[in-house]
């Protein structure tokens, strides 16, 4: 067994799922990945553990008997700064959006890859603990920039005429990373890091390729880009005002 000193240094996750068949092996896996995991079988148990421990991040199943995961998520968002990842068995977009508006930071759809879940946990912890100010659900909603609207729920860009321009998963993730950090210079490594944890896709796809595809879709002249600019020796930046809608 690990001694309390070491335990205290590990990020402390709260795993809430009524399904033992998922919860227990997942707790074991996350434990192996370097997290301290506390389990709860329902919302009530989760509340008492939240009060008892300094939880760094909560992973919550949406479909639970009694108080459901969305309600618990709302409670956590209202009473604390603990980030939340939702586990959902329904892939419908509406559930995703609803979940994220409840104050969740991310979600995974069952059956999910435990590795991907661990990656996302790390991304969120890095974001919240690395001194950065925490914004709830930074990757949801719609963003208006340079005449375009990026709708994260539908993974589509909408132009001035209201015509939706669907994006591939890779393009969407990249654009979302850029749009949520306007006027920041993002290196290729940063962009890879920001875009990879999302879905299985786009791991080894060159960022440059995605950028040039995006430019063809949104720039007036892809050869002389005004929106996604290349920073010499650095990476890319979104050179436009972004309004969150």
């Amino acid at each position: 067994m690990l001694d309390p000193g070491v335990m205290g240094d590990l990020p402390h996750l709260l795993l809430v799922d009524d399904e033992r068949s998922i919860r227990e092996p997942l707790a074991v896996y996350l434990g192996k990945q370097g997290f301290r995991v506390t389990q709860a079988g329902d919302a009530e148990g989760a509340r008492s553990r939240l009060a008892a421990y300094a939880i760094d991040l909560a992973i919550i199943d949406i479909m639970m008997p009694g108080e459901d995961g969305l309600s618990l998520c709302r409670h956590i968002a209202a009473t604390s700064d603990v980030p939340v990842i939702l586990l959902t068995a329904r892939a419908e977009e509406t559930d995703r959006i609803v979940g994220l508006e409840m104050g969740a930071d991310d979600y995974v759809v069952k059956p999910f890859s435990p590795r991907e879940l661990a990656t996302r946990v790390k991304v969120i912890l890095r974001r919240t603990q690395g001194g950065g100010t925490r914004q709830h659900a930074p990757e949801t909603g719609s963003y208006a920039f340079a005449g375009w609207v990026l709708k994260s729920g539908e993974r589509a860009l909408v132009d001035r005429e209201g015509v939706s321009v669907p994006l591939s998963t890779g393009e969407f993730n990249l654009l979302l990373a850029l749009v949520t950090r306007p006027r920041q210079v993002l290196t290729r490594d940063q962009l890879l890091d920001l875009t990879q944890g999302r879905e299985a896709a786009a791991f080894d796809r060159a960022i440059d390729n995605q950028v040039s595809r995006l430019r063809r879709k949104i720039e007036a002249d892809a050869k002389a880009p005004d929106i996604i600019k290349t920073v010499w020796g650095g990476g890319y930046t979104l050179a436009a005002e972004v309004t969150r809608l």
């Binding site: 999910f112 994006l167 591939s168 393009e171 796809r205």
Partner: protein, 449 residues
């Protein structure tokens, strides 16, 4: 028959109006026939009574040796039959007159009558007022009655005879028309009360479809129609409840199947053998995709996604790009923006399923998009073995797979295609499969613009 059926009105109000018109006309015709018979009988009595008296009178006079011409000269004595045989006769008058004379105990020979048009200068009209004269000119004939007195000659009388009822048909039609209008107004009002709620009901039944907002039809009209509308509203609620129940059940099935899949997926992570683990992960991903397809197919009748203006070229491009990100050999000939109104997530799914099949069974997918004036075609071509012509229709049936398929992987070709076709049909299009002359299969989605 065709003429009749063309004249037969199709609407309730028209049919009822026509039936009432026909019934009224028949009833009026019967009425008028009876009336006519009575008038004739009355006219006969009016004519033959006085005529018989005058004849009897004249015969009596001549028996007394006085000249037979009396009564201001109405009865004359001539030597030969004065009625030309060409004139139409009035047998009833003859019969009635004979019996009238017999009653008076007068024996006569033949009785002949003749009808001829009344002339303006006819002596019959001489002492009459103008209006009466006009009326007679319009409606009456001149009746000649000749009674033979054997051996003595013929006694003759002339008189106006209102034989034909000119304008009777017109009066019949006119009266019918008045009745028709009087009867028709309340009937049409009643029919409107019937047909308007029926029309609303029809419209509601036609509109009633998946995903439509449910507003009950306003209950109006007579009791029977109101009962029908109430029953329809109830039926609609029950159908909606059943569909909702189906959705809930599918959601529950999805949840119940995904939970064990998720548990498996988590446990697989602890499998030491890398190759084994990856294969298991693939299997679970396949099972999950099939589950998704089943649920989508079952839910397609009630799409939750709204119709959106979408650039179809970008949509196909995005799907192709997702495949290429995963390293699948998919090519796409890009075209200019192509604005369409559809459900983007579902259409992505349809295109993805076709490309998935092409990659799985045909090695590569060559995707192209053709825009014509009224139609758009998304063609997904592969370089596989194609499909035997006689099995072309079978592959669309859910859950069927070709035994000849050399493919060993899981995930049915049938379900993916069935879902793609269902999605495209819901969008008003069609999916067609064809073997390409150069080898391989071409799956084409056609959509109306």
């Amino acid at each position: 028959m065709t003429v009749l059926s063309r004249l037969w009105p199709r609407k309730l109000a028209g049919q009822i109006a026509l039936l009432i018109a026909l019934a009224l006309f028949v009833a009026q015709a019967i009425n008028f026939t009876l009336l006519l018979r009575e008038r004739r009988f009355f006219a006969l009595a009016q004519i033959t009574g006085p005529a018989a008296t005058r004849f009897a009178d004249a015969i009596e006079r001549s028996a007394q040796g006085r000249p037979p011409v009396a009564d201001r000269g109405r009865v004359r004595l001539v030597s030969a039959n004065p009625v030309p045989a060409t004139l139409p006769r009035e047998p009833e008058v003859e019969k009635s007159l004979r019996s009238g004379l017999a009653e008076s105990g007068v024996q006569v020979g033949r009785i002949v009558t003749g009808l001829s048009p009344l002339r303006v200068d006819s002596p019959l009209l001489r002492r009459l007022p103008v209006s009466r004269r006009r009326f007679l000119m319009r409606s009456a004939d001149e009746l000649v009655i000749a009674v033979e007195r054997p051996g003595l000659g013929w006694l003759v009388q002339r008189m106006p005879w209102g034989a034909h009822d000119i304008g009777l048909v017109w009066r019949l039609a006119g009266q019918t028309a008045i009745l028709f209008v009087i009867v028709l107004l309340p009937v049409l009002w009643a029919v409107r009360r019937l047909s308007r709620p029926l029309r609303d009901l029809t419209a509601a039944a036609e509109r009633f479809g998946p995903g439509e907002p449910v507003a009950p039809v306003a209950v109006s009209g007579p009791d029977d129609v109101a009962a029908l509308i109430t029953a329809f509203n109830g039926l609609r609620l029950r159908v909606t409840a059943m569909l909702d129940e189906k959705d809930r059940m599918l959601g529950a099935i999805g949840h119940d199947l995904r939970t064990p899949l998720a548990a498996l997926r988590v446990r697989i992570e602890s499998v030491e053998d890398e190759a084994d683990r990856l294969r298991m992960i693939d299997t679970i991903a396949d099972m999950n995709r099939t589950l998704d397809d089943i649920l989508s197919l079952a839910r397609l009748g009630r799409p939750s996604e709204p119709l959106t203006e979408v650039d179809l070229a970008a949509l196909v491009d995005a799907v192709v790009e997702d495949f290429r990100d995963l390293g699948a050999p998919v090519s796409f000939e890009d075209i200019d923006r192509l604005r369409m109104r559809l459900r983007p997530a579902l259409m992505r799914r349809a295109v993805r399923n076709l490309i998935e099949n092409a990659v799985k069974y045909g090695e590569v997918a060559e995707v192209s998009l053709r825009a014509e004036q009224h139609a758009v075609a998304i063609v997904v071509a592969d370089r596989g073995p194609g499909i035997p012509a006689d099995r072309m229709g079978d592959v669309f049936d859910p859950f069927t797979r070709l035994e000849t398929s050399r493919n060993r992987e899981t995930g049915g070709i049938g379900l993916g295609l069935a879902l793609a076709r269902a999605i495209v049909r819901e969008a008003g299009g069609e999916v067609v499969l064809a073997n390409r002359p150069e080898g391989g299969l071409a799956a084409t989605i056609t959509l109306r613009r």
